[in-house]
């Protein structure tokens, strides 16, 4: 039998598309460091309960070409402890804090061993994802208030905002420490809408749970559903035909379109340019109606199924051309307004080093010069050779705005290419493998960023564990970093340019 070190050397040298490495906890930090140094990204950490010990899965990815390496560590159920990776990877620290709350697994050597998901009024010692957790104990009424770090000094004052906001947005609490108008520190508190979605998956039939995956985050129905479906298909060895993948890609780009268009308008609106927002909302409504004609649902639900996709119709080329013209007029209108451009330029800058360190994904990463896009790194469909991730390097609100504009144009190009290919509107592979068991992962570039799901399916197609990672979970910590030296009245603009999900983060 070869040692862990030899196996790892082989993995890094051959870079296989799939590999699993079981290792003792003592080797974890060194192994993870080697993989990170070899360019792999830590995409997901999931704790999985087995009848015996608790197994912890570390999914490392890289691409192109698509490569996924899983590290498996087993820990004792009685007093679960793992060596912390927080000092070699910031995202790992976040995953470990999440596991500490939900499973009670203690990361040894974590620099911030504090609760993340569960607020202070949850009963301590109760870990809701554990199978032996039992019914939820009553919430504490006398819990100590959250210890916000107080910024000391003369003239510093605090502005608390939320969790209930004036607009139609989800709950989150922001605590600003401000001198004059300049933000010195901002603390975001999330997880007000923790729903226990991962637990809801457990015990469900893998085919039926597609509907649940669509509802993880309402505006990312296709992204999450597709990542889930891909994970289950890998677990059960279901082969999706190229046509099925084309139809899925159409849905994914349609979702990107309507969301990006709404964001472009909302960014202008936050700068007081309501005219552009009015145009964007008209366009968004057109796109939602297009969505309805394609899937029968305005938010594209019901299109992706296990084994393929099922559409009612495809967008017509002239419809896409019309949308393209409208989008160009909208972006020209916004870009010709000098006040709007002045508001965007240089606001809330996130440098490439910061983005890299934090591990941000999606639009935010690409606006800071990290040109990572799962559509090119982990492709599931033959894209035209011309596809390149939209990328900017200034890292400010303007860059994030322009990346969105560029991606809308790129999505329209991709869509034109997909709809030109002929084939049936429904293509679903028979789920011949549903009786077998296995595990798999799905990686999809949703409109916010890279979505990763990892599932374990038991005998009879029953879900045993589903781990969901929305890009927002990894990108939220970047928002306070980008706010350094930003002024308070520019915060809504900065926040909108990130436009991170609360539902996808809180799960």
């Amino acid at each position: 039998m070869t040692t862990v070190g030899e196996q790892l050397e082989l993995l890094v040298a051959t870079r296989p598309s799939r590999a699993t490495l079981r290792l003792p906890a003592t080797d974890l930090v060194a192994t993870a460091s080697t993989l990170l140094a070899a360019g792999y990204r830590l995409a997901l950490i999931a704790a999985v309960e087995t009848p015996g010990p608790i197994r912890i899965e570390y999914l490392f990815t890289d691409g192109p070409p698509d490569q996924r390496i899983e590290l498996e560590v087993e820990v004792d159920r009685g007093s679960p402890r793992i060596p912390s990776l927080a000092r070699v990877s910031f995202p790992a620290g976040r995953f470990e804090r999440e596991m500490r709350d939900l499973f009670g697994i203690e990361p040894i050597g974590h620099p911030q061993p504090r609760p993340l998901v569960l607020h202070q009024h949850w009963a301590p010692g109760w870990h809701p994802m554990r199978s032996d957790a039992g019914p939820q104990p009553p919430m504490l009424s006398d819990a100590a208030p959250y210890p916000f770090v107080r910024v000391e000094g003369s003239g510093v004052y605090e502005i608390p905002v939320g969790p209930v906001h004036a607009g139609l947005i989800e709950p989150g609490h922001f605590r600003f420490s401000v001198v004059g108008e300049t933000i010195v520190k901002m603390k975001a508190r999330l997880w007000f809408v923790h729903k226990g979605i991962e637990r809801l998956f457990e015990g469900r039939d893998a085919t039926a749970a597609v509907a649940l995956a669509e509802k993880i985050s309402g505006d990312t129905a296709v992204g999450h559903c597709l990542a889930y479906a891909q994970a289950v298909e890998e677990a059960l060895a279901i082969e999706v035909t190229p046509r099925g993948n084309e139809l899925r890609a159409v849905l994914l780009e349609l979702e990107r379109l309507y969301n990006h268009v709404a964001d472009v308008g909302a960014l202008c609106n936050d700068a007081g340019f309501g005219l552009a927002n009015a145009h964007a909302l008209t366009l968004r409504e057109q796109l939602l109606r297009l969505n309805e004609s394609v899937t029968g649902h305005r938010l594209l639900r019901g299109g992706v199924t296990l084994g393929g996709a099922s559409l009612v119709s495809l967008p017509q080329p002239d419809q896409l051309r019309e949308v393209g013209d409208h989008v160009r007029r909208l972006t020209d209108l916004a870009r010709s307004n000098t006040i709007v451009m002045d508001r965007f330029t240089g606001t809330a800058t996130l440098s490439a080093e910061q983005a890299m360190e934090i591990g941000v994904l999606g639009v935010v990463a690409r606006a800071s010069g990290l040109c990572f896009d799962a559509r090119s790194a982990h492709p599931f469909v033959d894209s035209p050779v011309t596809f390149r991730p939209a990328c900017r390097d200034t890292g400010d609100v303007l860059a994030r705005f322009l990346v969105r504009c560029d991606e809308v144009a790129a999505s329209l190009d991709l869509l034109s290419d997909y709809v030109a290919r002929t084939g049936p509107l429904t293509d679903v592979s028979v789920d011949r493998g549903l009786t077998s068991a296995g595990h798999g992962s799905g990686i999809v570039e949703g409109w916010r960023g890279t979505i990763v799901h990892r599932v374990e399916v038991g005998p009879g197609g029953m879900l045993e564990r589903v781990k969901v990672v929305d890009p927002s979970f990894l990108t939220w910590p970047a928002l306070p970093v980008a706010l350094a030296d930003t002024i308070v009245p520019d915060f809504p603009l900065a926040n909108k340019s990130f436009n991170l999900s609360y539902a996808g983060n809180d799960l």
């Binding site: 502005i159 608390p160 108008e181 006040i339 308070v488 009245p489 809504p492």
Partner: protein, 319 residues
């Protein structure tokens, strides 16, 4: 003194107060409607602000627990100062009651009293948004007010007086005075300051829901019910008052220059038309502009100040 001599000034004052109050709210409704139509939306009816005020007056009075008399007095002060200025300013007629007291400087400072009361009330609530709004509003006021004073100075020099009815009447008798470069520069400065003081774009966005970006709205977030109705009315009055003064200094024609009911009615109608036109211009401007970065607002106001200074220098040199 006959009964008519006592009654007439009261009627004139009453008419001016009503036209400023009701007209001010309708003006906001008109601007919102126009802006909506230009953006391709239907928009609320023009009289919606009136309906809102009526609804608010019927609601229960709710005040923050820890607030003091400062909070409850501010809306009254705001409306009272606007009422006084509306009564004595040359809006529909050049012969308002107590017209001799209608000094331009004095009127500006009476209106400022209302702003100061609101800023104090916002601090009184103890909420972070209130303090934030007060601080921003006072910062802008501290730059805008000096510009306004210099602009008034520029208009007063050729007329040898800062009495408003006289300034307006001189425009009727000596139209060349309006076309003087000093007056035009000063009115340009006045227009910029009206936008800043009334919380319009590009300085403040009256239609935003984002508390962190608010200036004026942040100060009045804690008001509800009848108090909010007073605040809304007071603000509408101040806006229409300032616009009324601007249009009468720029184009006084149509204003009643003789006593008598007919002249007064024509004066009111002309005032409504002129102010509505000014409001339409602002609404169109607002559709195509956006909100300046807060730290750029002083640059805009500095521009207003420079215009006012140039106006004064020109008025001194060009006689």
């Amino acid at each position: 003194m006959t009964g008519g001599q006592v009654l007439a000034p009261i009627l004139v004052a009453g008419a001016q107060i009503v036209i400023v109050g009701v007209g001010g709210l309708l003006l906001l409704g008109l601007m919102r409607k126009l802006r909506s139509r230009l953006e391709g939306r239907v928009g609320p009816p023009i009289h919606q602000p009136l309906l809102n005020v009526r609804k608010l007056f019927r609601k229960q009075r709710v005040r923050p627990e820890e607030s003091s008399w400062v909070f409850s007095a501010a809306p009254v002060v705001l409306v009272a100062t606007a009422v006084v200025v509306a009564a004595i300013s040359p809006l529909a007629t050049t012969r308002p009651p107590l017209g001799r007291s209608a000094d331009f400087f004095a009127i500006v400072f009476v209106l400022l009293l209302g702003s100061a009361a609101l800023a104090l009330a916002a601090l009184d609530t103890g909420t972070p948004f209130g303090g934030m709004g007060s601080s921003r509003a006072m910062t802008i006021g501290a730059i805008a007010e000096p510009a306004l004073l210099v602009a008034i100075l520029a208009m007063s020099i050729p007329a040898h007086t800062s009495n408003l009815p006289v300034l307006v009447r001189l425009g009727l008798t000596h139209p060349q005075m309006i076309a003087s470069p000093g007056r035009i520069l000063a009115l340009g400065s006045f227009a910029i300051i009206i936008l800043a003081e009334s919380g319009r774009l590009p300085v403040d966005n009256p239609s935003t829901h984002l508390e962190l970006t608010m200036i004026h709205e942040a100060m009045v977030l804690e008001y509800a019910g009848p108090d909010l109705a007073l605040v809304a009315t007071g603000e509408a009055m101040r806006f229409s008052l300032l616009l009324g003064l601007l249009v009468n200094l720029l184009a006084p024609w149509g204003i009643a220059d003789r006593p008598g009911a007919v002249a007064l009615v024509i004066g009111i109608a002309m005032l409504a038309v002129k102010v509505a036109l000014a409001g339409v211009c602002i609404a169109i401007f607002e559709v195509f502009t956006a909100k300046l970065r807060l730290f750029r607002v002083p640059e805009l106001l500095a521009g207003g100040f420079v215009l006012a200074v140039l106006g004064t220098v020109t008025a001194l040199v060009v006689r």
